[in-house]
């Protein structure tokens, strides 16, 4: 167990270093990048440029910058955004809850749907239910998420008006009570969460189905059937349970790609999450903000992996041996 934790510490350290190096390896630099094409406020005067660079700590050597970055991190400081001049920690605090809500809801939906459909399909392999489920799940998974998101906006928000177009809640309406507020947030969450969940159902489904299928011929199942156990017990107790471990691994692994998907989904729905923040900070080459959002997202993924490892040990104790 301590070996596991130690190796995760090493991973985190490697990530921290990459986190510092990657933004700076990108072509372009923050001061020029902020010269938004629609507002040509580019600073041509060399003296003023130097002052601005100094103010944003862009005039330091890479090594010095790295040392300061590690020292600040150790103190829990994430620096200040170059674009907004706000502390990165506050930017993240504003955005993180929304991403957690969105990614969490989407993955929970996807895992539940995928596992149910996968078990069902694997059990009824080659029958018509299996086939139609397979076609459905695979087709849905095969639609590019940005296309799906923008079509969903058009159909459900613009044409039908069932859901709001964008944002995470109705602004300036804090007076109507907690219940109404929760309902409002949920209402805004439906489209982005469902759109985001759809591409993740497929893998869960396939893995679960493959797991159940390869369990079908397994000895304990044959034994169980010989003992006269009910189909339902066999299906969920034996087949599904043994195929469960890969599913949990898959769910944790999906956190990584879910975050990439979140960048698309949050952009299309103008959802105020960290994914969009990261995308925007890359577009601005806003190093401190990139580092901060990278860090939060990578910690999320590493945390999910750690959980997966632990859960895997619980669910399938044989692997520990």
């Amino acid at each position: 167990m301590s070996g596991l934790v130690a190796s995760y510490v090493l991973v985190v350290f490697l990530l921290l270093t990459l986190n510092f190096a990657l933004p700076r390896a990108l072509p372009g630099e923050p001061i020029a990048a902020l010269g938004d094409p629609t507002s040509s406020t580019y600073v041509g005067d060399p003296e003023r440029r130097a002052a601005v660079r100094r103010y944003y700590d862009l005039d330091r050597s890479a090594l010095d910058g790295y040392r300061r970055y590690l020292r600040d991190l150790a103190r829990g400081e994430l620096g200040t955004s170059i674009r907004s001049n706000r502390p990165v920690a506050r930017e993240l605090a504003d955005r993180l809850p929304w991403t957690l809500l969105l990614v969490g809801t989407a993955l929970a939906l996807a895992t539940a749907a995928g596992m149910l459909a996968g078990t069902h399909s694997g059990w009824r392999r080659e029958r018509s239910t299996d086939r139609s489920l397979l076609v459905l799940v695979l087709s849905v998974q095969s639609i590019p998420v940005f296309f799906l998101a923008s079509a969903a906006v058009y159909v459900f928000a613009v044409q039908l008006g069932w859901f709001p177009l964008s944002g995470a809640r109705t602004p300036f309406d804090g007076s109507s009570g907690v219940a109404a507020e929760i309902a409002d947030v949920a209402h805004h969450l439906v489209l982005p969460a469902v759109v985001m969940a759809l591409p993740f159902v497929g893998l869960q489904y396939l893995v679960m189905r493959a797991g159940v299928v390869s369990e079908l011929g397994a000895d304990h199942l044959l034994l169980g059937r010989a003992k006269g156990l009910s189909e339902r017990t066999l299906k969920y107790r034996y087949a599904a349970r043994n195929a469960l471990a890969p599913s949990v691994t898959v769910a944790a692994l999906q956190v990584g790609s879910a975050i990439t998907a979140a960048i698309f989904v949050e952009s299309v729905f103008a959802y105020p999450g960290v994914g969009r923040l990261l995308f925007e900070s890359v577009a601005d080459r806003d190093y401190p903000l990139m580092q901060g959002s990278f860090l939060v997202l990578t910690l999320l993924v590493v945390g999910a992996n750690l959980l997966a490892d632990l859960a895997y040990r619980r669910l399938d104790p044989r692997t520990v041996a």
Partner: protein, 261 residues
Amino acid sequence: MVTTLATVALLAPILAPEDPRAVTGPSLAPPSAGHLLGTDDAGRDLVSQLIWGARSSMMVALAAAALAVTVGVAVGAAAGLLRGWVDVVAMRIVDVFLALPALPLLVLIAALSGPGRGIAILVIGLAGWPAIARIVRSRCLTLVSRGYVDAARGFGAGPVYLVRRHLVPDLGPLVVASFVDWAATAVLLEAGLAFLGLGDPTGVSWGAMLDRALAHPGIYAGGEWAWWVLPAGVAIALASVGFAFVGLALEPRANPRWRRA
């Protein structure tokens, strides 16, 4: 489905009525005899773009999936079977890859090396292997713990025998599922990369079509949605689904135990 697409991809120069990059008609023309799916905002034939797009999508998907699965299975199986330090090192590398938010990494690689099809294959392949490695490893662990391997080894079976007799049949469905999934994902990722502007800007691909269509102001207001966005989106989905079904068709052969049952 995949065969059709592959044929289309191979025969693109013959099938396509026009040069997909040349301006051959009025812009945003609706479908007509001259342009079966109309034209895009610059006046280029959309059918030809769709046909040529099949070529780049198929190539990227197959090559990237092959790369991802090869590396993934090799690393995953090595980690799961050899255990020990190999396992630790491999899994930590996997962790680092998985934990890095993929998008900025892709932006970085594409920005450093310039956009292009080779880069797209490499990037998508690289994005795919860690997940596959992890799943393969967890499956291997389960297999090993079931005791066949120890038992067989006890009977003096060599590693080749072990791999052929036990691992291949048992990992089969998983590997196929992974390849299927990744070929299908690769089609989508290629579109995603193009959507982010990381594809080849002068290249013709479904992702580039979709990107340009969705970025076109007021795309939903006119009829062009139906012949510009939809065909590209459907083509991507069909290619992706096609790969998935190929995998499923192969699955029973990869799982002999099921046949026995």
